[in-house]
């Protein structure tokens, strides 16, 4: 940023509702239109500014000083309206309050700390794929049987949850990610059970509800060392439970969808299984499981000549940035020869997904297991989307496989 005066131009205005079902189902046409309209577009329907080009989205993501998160990363502006739950200490916080929770969770979820999980998760992934092939044969729903089943098998244990009520995890995440959008039908559909789901999740964050060897216990141990307060600890556990399940499930589904729909890429991956992490990140770029997040301007800010007034909400289209032809060659192609590094599917800057290494580890285990046992995988029908205001989600992913003979 500089103080240089620039001619202020009115950004193009569009009255589209990006949270309408047709755009949630197939976001690409809207993304293309927004990117082409200009670096900043005013969305009059929700009175927000939209960024859809990689350059602007990236710049806004890293600039926490100008684009704050503490006023909420959804449409609701916490300066004026009460959040539906106590705000997240990570996602919905700015420095300095953000520092300590972020540091604690980053160390707990850093790659070196995850190495013991790698050894445990690979046999579990192998076992899951074996069981699916043995019980369901060559045609099954890869969303239900793999993308959903595997994280639910490994992640709650890694956090240290008890055995009861785990079926609340996905509905809670679905509700939390819907809440970043407008109060539309998707939000209303869950209103009747919001209190129950929240109560269950909050109860799981207590120390006594957690095993003594998981991520949750390590968060509480950090509080015992004074790196967090004991009041902060349960909210940091809540962040794991909110952000760590649905995102991974739909990220894995996106990867399986991409590989099943691109037989050449599946072959390439089978020949070089070390591409598992690249495949996952390329799928995260290509599908962007987390489609959007908002920021709030802390001051009058000018982007490419357009003025965004202080206090405005800014909607960042991560999915559009991840397919910006100014940044990516052939952006609509799922391509394992591409280096997807730098995609904003996990965000960027101080709020970049703190659990990304856990997600990559889950993906690596599941994809490796699948590549060992399956020679070919292809789509056996149109995938069914589940609509969510923030997450690009699946409801079903029918596949046909040819097991290794």
């Amino acid at each position: 940023m500089t103080e240089a005066p620039a001619a202020v131009v009115e950004p193009p205005v569009n009255d589209v509702d990006p949270f309408a079902p047709e755009h949630l189902t197939t976001p690409e046409p809207l993304h293309n239109a927004l990117r082409e309209a200009g670096p900043v577009v005013r969305l009059s329907r929700h009175d927000v500014y939209a960024l859809a080009r990689y350059r602007e989205v990236h710049a806004a993501l890293v600039d926490w000083q100008t684009f704050q998160s503490a006023a909420g990363v959804g449409l609701a502006n916490f300066r004026h309206s009460k959040p539906w739950r106590p705000p997240s200490l990570l996602l919905e916080a700015d420095p300095p309050h953000h520092d300590a929770p972020r540091r604690v969770l980053r160390e707990i979820l850093a790659p070196p700390a995850l190495r013991r999980l790698r050894a445990a998760w690979q046999p579990m992934a192998d076992d899951l794929v074996d069981t699916v092939l043995a019980t369901q044969g060559t045609d099954f729903d890869a969303f239900e049987s793999l993308a959903k089943a595997f994280p639910l098998r490994v992640f709650p244990d890694a956090v240290g949850l008890g055995p009861d009520g785990r079926d609340n995890l996905l509905p809670y995440g679905n509700m939390a990610f819907n809440a970043f959008g407008p109060a539309n039908a998707l939000v209303q559909a869950d209103a009747h059970r919001a209190a129950d789901l929240s109560a269950w999740v909050n109860a799981q964050c207590a120390r006594r509800a957690l095993t003594d060897d998981g991520f949750g216990a390590r968060i509480w141990a950090a509080a015992d060392r004074g790196d967090l307060t004991h009041e902060q600890a349960p909210l940091v556990v809540r962040s794991l439970l909110t952000a760590g399940v649905d995102t991974t499930v739909h990220g894995l589904a996106a990867t399986l969808y991409a590989l099943a729909g691109h037989p050449d890429e599946w072959q390439r991956f089978r020949e070089r299984p070390e591409l598992a992490r690249v495949a996952f990140d390329e799928a995260v770029r290509w599908q962007s499981p987390v489609q959007t997040f908002f920021r709030t301007a802390t001051t009058d800010v000018e982007i490419a000549g357009s003025l965004i007034p202080e206090g405005s909400k800014i909607l960042m289209f991560l999915g559009a940035a991840n397919r910006d032809p100014a940044r990516w060659n052939g952006p609509d192609r799922f391509d394992l020869t591409r280096d997807p590094s730098g995609h904003v599917g996990f965000g960027m800057g101080i709020h970049q997904c703190v659990g990304q290494h856990v997600a990559r580890l889950e993906a690596e285990a599941l994809l490796t297991a699948l590549a060992r046992r399956v020679e070919r995988i292809e789509l056996a029908g149109e995938p069914r989307r589940h609509l969510n205001n923030t997450l690009r989600s699946f409801a079903a992913l029918p596949v046909h496989v040819r097991p290794v003979s």
Binding site: A59, R106, P112, T299, P340
Partner: protein, 329 residues
Amino acid sequence: MVVHNLLPTAPLQQHPSTVTLQVQDKTPVADGVVSLALVHPDGTRLPDWTPGSHIDLILPSGVTRQYSLCGDRWDPYTYRIAVLREDSGRGGSAYVHDQLMPGNLVEVGGPRNHFPLAPAERYLFIAGGIGITPLLPMIHQADVTGADWQLLYGGRNRASMAFLDELAASYGDRVQISPQDECGLLDLEAWLSQPDTGTKVYCCGPGPLLTAVEAACSRWPPYNLRTERFTAKALTEPVHRGPFEVELCRSGRTVTITPDATVLQALRQAGADVLSSCEHGTCGTCLTPVVEGTPDHRDSVLTEHERAANDCMLPCVSRSRSARLVLDL
């Protein structure tokens, strides 16, 4: 109003393991202490930091010196450090005082934070001399969050103590200045005799001060006292400045890493698939197992314990202390 210049930040650039910054300003702030303002020559954002962080200043002689960031993190374009002339040193501070001038370029590594500020109801900050530097941004932060805090600041004499005016103007009574020639040694007993679970004590200064504070806090709960020795543990092993070799043990290839390239860049050129994201040593995406050799860890992800194990590294910023590294790639 701020205007976004939209200059690319880290991930769009080919980042070497260090970044070359420019001295924008150099100001005496006490007897024998200058403060430097460092900016990127292109005006881009500098990597984010948190209070307690330090950067490495890599001087032309090859000497690396660590200095705490003592500026304003809400200004992402400027790092501020304060450097005490240490005549007994190896010439690092003398170079900064005598030769490094506004407009000059200097190589900088980091930032890294081994002295983070943890939340507390109350803070007691204890600074000895130039040890005030990491505490300055902590004090600002404690003030922003509305915590109750006090600063006890000792030094040889007033003229030798940096930032007195800044502290007095901003914080008034919360700051107690105790120059030794006026008040004698800091009366630690008076401040620390009553252990208080709600107070965290942050202390930075010369060794004897830290030892005295540790002794005075012996009855305090564990973890309430947090210290940093501003005379950074001497860099006994020099940072390897010349080229070194990296062997990829799975593929059997060997690449030579020249000073102008990162290990990550060289690995990619050799055809290895190493995923990365921030390319600044902060996100951990490119973590790679090390089979043989000693990495020169320059990231802010690994803990001290993990660094010491030397069994993994972040090739986007880290280099080698040994002539050869073997990576599990």
